[in-house]
């Protein structure tokens, strides 16, 4: 039985030592190099007595950065990836939550890493040359269980205090196996990674790469501003698989790049984390009629993604793209406000059950207990589920559909309204590229923000034709672009503040 994610790396490096594993375009590393440097880093940490504790990785996105992840795991510790682009206040809040003793950094970020004031500030290029002590690493491995932590990933808590989700080997192995099966990845898969390494999202590329001997290219962030250059990058490296946030895909289609430039090798497009506006989704489908499209859904708290839907039928104009069904070895429970199983077609909170459920929030028992609860349907023993705070329902095809965030459901003039419904209708209007709807609790009004060429008046008259009167926004505001979070999702909190203050 596989207990440790490093077994993926070890098996693949033995089989394909000289194959390129990770590349930034200019600089690449083979599986053999990744294995050998990771073992060196593991030795360096172990020799300093770092064991079963958080190790911060503070490096630019690079093959060495992910190698440092595996190095930390060799030492029996768990990694926490931070980024120079993060606001210092956020970094400090995270360091305060973790109290780490060690950080590994690259040359460029070394001075900043030193300013953290930790016991050990290590330079990657130094520790990666440490002579490997196999006996030491074997001893560590011998004591490990598959319930040991691998990483802590920080999500933006709505209160401003970041929450660190802590995941173990068993959950990540479970995710890797089901993801590779469902999306049919193989040794020939060539990924282009978009998501930052400090989230769990890049596990979609990193883990299948280790398991199958596939290849992952890290796309320079700057290219996401320049769609034609981005497509040239995909063609240049014969990328066949992308798993990107919706905003990154919309950036390409909304600027009109797909009309003249079609990625030549792309056969799999997975997207997620946000609602894909139907018009933009259609542009992608038309540009790549033979590619397989997957909608992925899942919270960090349940390890990467939990559900998937493969586009094998047409989506009606007014139909949200389903999130489909859970990955193997995962069950979704839809629970009503009374903690009962939702009836067929009825909405309920999406709750997740299975090995994918992570170990909670690091050093934060209160928040952990609030979201990781005992399954209310099981009175007999302690079975933990994760409550996502998302509302879902089963559609006529038996597929799971995301309805809205629980806190995105409002009561307005006596009506229960889902803001997401107003948004998806607004997105159908000509000249509306993205839309986001918020509720101003003070003034009790619905405010709709949109980006696109349409003017506010025409959107207002369009809305009157598609939603009932009580759902009509009191105010509609056109923005040059909708603000985004670090993750690339629409920043609802910022828009909510804007609605309040204008």
């Amino acid at each position: 039985m596989q207990k440790n994610i490093l077994e993926y790396l070890e098996r693949t490096a033995a089989r394909l030592p000289d194959k390129m594993a990770f590349s930034g375009g200019k600089e690449s590393m083979t599986f053999g190099e990744v294995l050998s440097q990771a073992r060196s880093i593991g030795t360096a940490l172990a020799e300093r007595g770092i064991y079963r504790e958080p190790v911060v990785i503070f490096m630019d996105k690079h093959p060495k950065t992910v190698t440092a992840f595996w190095g930390v795991i060799y030492s029996g510790s768990f990694y926490v990836c931070l980024d120079e682009k993060m606001p210092r206040a956020r970094i400090d809040a995270i360091l305060q939550n973790l109290s780490p003793r060690a950080v590994i950094s690259d040359k460029k970020n070394f001075e900043t890493a030193k300013s953290f004031g930790l016991e050990h500030t290590m330079l990657y290029d130094d520790v990666a040359e440490t002579e490997t002590e196999s006996a030491l690493l074997d001893e560590i491995r011998g004591k490990q269980c598959d319930t040991d932590a691998i990483y802590v990933v920080f999500t933006s808590g709505s209160t401003g205090v970041p929450k660190g989700v802590i995941a173990c080997h068993r959950s990540v192995i479970d995710y890797t196996e089901s993801l590779c099966d469902a999306l049919e990845f193989s040794e020939d898969t060539v990924f282009a990674n978009q998501t930052p390494l400090y989230f769990d999202a890049p596990l979609k590329e990193l883990m299948p790469t280790l398991k199958l001997g596939a290849t992952t290219y890290f796309v320079p962030k700057m290219l996401f501003s320049f769609p034609v250059r981005l497509i040239e990058f995909l063609d240049n490296y014969k990328i066949n698989t992308i798993c990107w946030v919706v905003s990154a895909l919309v950036q390409v289609s909304a600027l009109g790049a797909l009309a003249s430039h079609t990625p030549k090798y792309l056969t799999t497009v997975a997207f997620g984390s946000e609602v894909f506006p139907k018009k933009q989704y259609d542009l992608w489908r038309e540009a790549l009629p033979d590619a397989r499209f997957f909608n992925l859904y899942g919270p960090t708290e349940a390890t990467g993604m939990s559900c998937y839907w493969r586009a094998e039928r047409e989506i009606a104009e007014d139909e949200p793209i389903p999130i489909g069904r859970p990955f193997d070895n995962t069950e979704i429970l839809l629970l009503t406000d009374e903690n009962k199983r939702a009836e067929y077609g009825e909405s309920g909170e999406i709750c997740i059950r299975g090995t994918c459920v992570t170990m909670g929030y690091y050093n934060n028992p209160e928040k952990t207990d609030a979201a990781f609860t005992v399954n209310p349907l099981n009175k007999a023993y302690r079975e933990i589920i994760y409550r996502t705070g998302d509302i879902g329902r089963i559609n006529e095809y038996g597929e799971l559909v995301f309805v809205c965030r629980k806190d995105n459901q409002i009561k307005h003039m006596g009506h229960r309204i889902e803001l997401g419904e107003i948004e998806s209708n607004a997105a159908k209007c000509d000249g509306v590229a993205r839309a986001c709807c918020v509720y101003n609790d003070d003034k009790k009004e619905i405010v709709l923000f949109f980006a696109g060429e349409a003017d506010e008046k025409s959107v207002a008259s369009f809305m009157a034709t598609v939603v009932p009167r009580y759902m009509l926004p009191a105010r509609i505001e056109r923005l040059a672009a909708l603000p985004q979070t670090d993750n690339g999702k629409i920043n609802r909190m910022a828009l909510k503040d804007r609605a309040k203050n204008s």
């Binding site: 700057m222 320049f226 250059r229 040059a480 672009a481």
Partner: protein, 75 residues
């Protein structure tokens, strides 16, 4: 030109757009800014920037961007 500088300053009030020439290479403008600029150029200059022209060279400075707008406007 002033109209364009106003658009850019609206995005990043702290940057002196008259003199800065590495807006992309220095990471001052991100993908969201590019979308904003393309959209504002359309609404204020009535010029559509085609995807082929959305390249770093055209966005690295206000001067380069103004040249692009002028060229597209004449075409």
């Amino acid at each position: 030109m002033q109209q364009l500088l106003d658009i850019l300053s609206g995005l990043h009030p702290e940057v002196d757009f008259e003199t800065t020439e590495d807006l992309i290479d220095d990471g001052i403008l991100d993908s969201l800014d590019i979308v904003s600029i393309v959209s504002s150029v359309y609404s204020e200059f009535d010029v559509t920037i085609p995807p082929e022209e959305i390249i770093p060279e055209n966005f690295n400075s206000a001067v380069a961007l103004m040249e692009l707008i002028t060229r597209l406007d004449e075409e």
